[in-house]
């Protein structure tokens, strides 16, 4: 399977802040991002293995908010997929320690059933 490389900052937007159209300005939302780049992952069969499917390059991303990370990435925990498996399938490149921590926190909290 061909692994797509997405330059998130240039191909989408450099500020990843809003969950959906109701939040904030309602533009460049996580729902739009998921629909544009991650819609193929909305399929339980894809998660049966840990082969990487997509590489997201964060070199041109200035900010990512917890709401965006939750809606864009933690959304896939609904397939009973662990955060580790999600990070194996969606590879984050050139990402700062802080942004990675924000995404990981959302994945782990989204996976929990509280």
């Amino acid at each position: 399977m061909n692994i797509k490389i997405i330059d998130v900052g240039n191909e989408f937007y450099y500020r990843l802040l809003y969950r959906d159209s109701n939040q904030g300005v309602g533009t460049h939302t996580a729902e739009d991002f998921r629909e544009k780049f991650l819609s193929f992952l909305d399929n339980p069969m894809i998660w049966s293995n840990s082969n990487p499917c997509i590489i997201l390059d964060f070199s041109n991303v200035l900010e990512i908010g917890p709401s965006f990370a939750n809606e864009a990435f933690a959304y896939f925990t609904r397939y009973d997929v662990s955060p580790k498996r999600i990070m194996q399938k969606i590879v984050f490149e050139n990402i700062s320690k802080v942004k990675e921590d924000i995404i990981k926190r959302e994945l782990y909290d989204g996976y929990k059933r509280v």
């Binding site: 904030g24 300005v25 908010g65 917890p66 709401s67 802080v98 942004k99």
Partner: protein, 388 residues
């Protein structure tokens, strides 16, 4: 025993049959309604219910009322602001926000220092009274000048006079623009792109001030930008209702003498209490607290248990113990803000209509509660960020 005629017996039997048929129909309708609610195809109907509830809450909060009471005077003495004197600020706010007077006079003669939170209070008050008093008989707010030139200049330089539509009086004093971000009043642009640029510009101003004056590491600054400022701005832009401006505003001031930057962000929405109790997670809150929780209790619960008032929020499901399904719990925004404030020594205070909550620089709860009258018309987030 009295003999009942055959005709009467037939009549009684007929009535009983009709009664039983009615009961069966009613049971069937109730069963059908329960199944409709349970079935996921009809989630849209449920969302409509919450949208309606939210609209009713907005209508109730912003219902126009007569402002007929005689003139009232509120005196502000000494240093006035949430940043240094919480009980004093709450007392002043209660005397101002829920007033029904036709003319409110704010006496500033003996006021020596005003913090940004007080400026935010004045601006939100002017919007609140403008929205709630009757169109043909609007209420009036007046303020006297202070004997301190510095205070008068601050009221003008902070953008408050422009916000309330007052002419700036001449003064020899002016504040350093590098240390102050004034309140801006701007109409919401029609195009989403322009609105996005406006939000980014206002956010960048705050980030520039915090970067230049505050004592945050590189990682700390990134957490501040990505988590604290982003989540709070998401909240105020989502819940603010455009009236004379965008429905939300911000102000920041570097206080060299006090050693911190005071950052205030506010919206003119219905507040955290009404948002949550008119949203999908209202039942969970009422079940966990009690049927009539106070404003302060709901705000604390929202922060600590990650509850959200968003209409798209999911509900807990389950038979024995209710839980969120994976990927469904979305109310972590303010909880993340609180965690990062505690990590970087930032004090956080939230006022929302009749409720308030304050956390210290270590993220430990200092005080929370409810007041009998409103203390802020909307929701105010006040952050004290340690300066260099």
């Amino acid at each position: 025993m009295k003999k009942v005629s055959a005709r009467k017996r037939r009549r009684q039997r007929h009535i009983n049959v009709r009664k039983q048929a009615k009961q069966r129909n009613r049971a069937g309708r109730l069963r059908n309604a329960y199944n409709l609610r349970k079935h996921s195809r009809y989630v849209k109907e449920e969302k409509d219910i919450f949208t309606k509830r939210r609209q009713q809450a907005i209508k109730k909060t912003y219902k126009r009322r007569p402002y007929n009471d005689p003139q009232e005077k509120v005196e502000l003495n000494g240093e006035v602001g949430l940043e240094e004197n919480i009980p004093g600020f709450l007392e002043i706010a209660q005397n101002m926000v829920d007033t029904r007077t036709k003319q409110l006079l704010i006496e500033l003669y003996n006021c020596e220092f005003i913090f940004p939170s007080t400026i935010m209070l004045f601006c939100s008050l002017s919007e609140w009274i403008g929205a709630r008093s009757q169109v043909h008989r609007p209420s009036e707010i007046r303020s006297s000048d202070s004997q301190s030139d510095k205070v008068n200049a601050y009221l003008a330089d902070s953008g408050m006079y422009k916000f309330v539509g007052r002419v700036k009086s001449e003064s020899n004093f002016s504040h350093d623009t590098e240390k102050l971000i004034p309140i801006s009043i701007a109409m919401k642009p029609k195009s989403k792109t322009e609105f996005e640029k406006m939000v980014e510009l206002r956010k960048d101003r705050i980030l520039d001030l915090v970067k230049s004056k505050c004592n945050l590491s590189e990682d700390g600054f990134e957490y501040f930008a990505c988590v604290i400022l982003t989540e709070i701005m998401n909240n105020i832009t989502e819940h603010g209702m455009p009236r004379q401006g965008t429905g939300w505003y911000e102000m920041a001031q570097y206080h060299e003498r006090h050693g911190y930057v005071s950052l205030c962000l506010a919206d003119n929405g219905i507040g955290i209490y009404e948002s949550i109790l008119s949203g999908p997670q209202a039942d969970f809150v009422k079940h966990s607290l009690h049927r009539n929780p106070s404003h302060g209790e709901v705000i604390r619960f929202a922060l600590e248990k990650s509850v959200t008032g968003a209409l798209s929020a999911d509900k807990k499901t389950g038979f024995l113990k209710k839980k969120y399904s994976r990927g469904a719990n979305k109310g972590y925004g303010l909880k993340r803000v609180l965690e990062q404030c505690g990590n970087f020594g930032i004090e956080l205070g939230i006022l929302s209509h009749k409720g308030y909550i304050f956390y210290g620089s270590t993220g430990v709860l200092q005080q929370h509660g409810s007041t009998p009258k409103r203390i802020f018309a909307g929701t105010l987030y006040n952050l004290k960020i340690p300066a260099k």
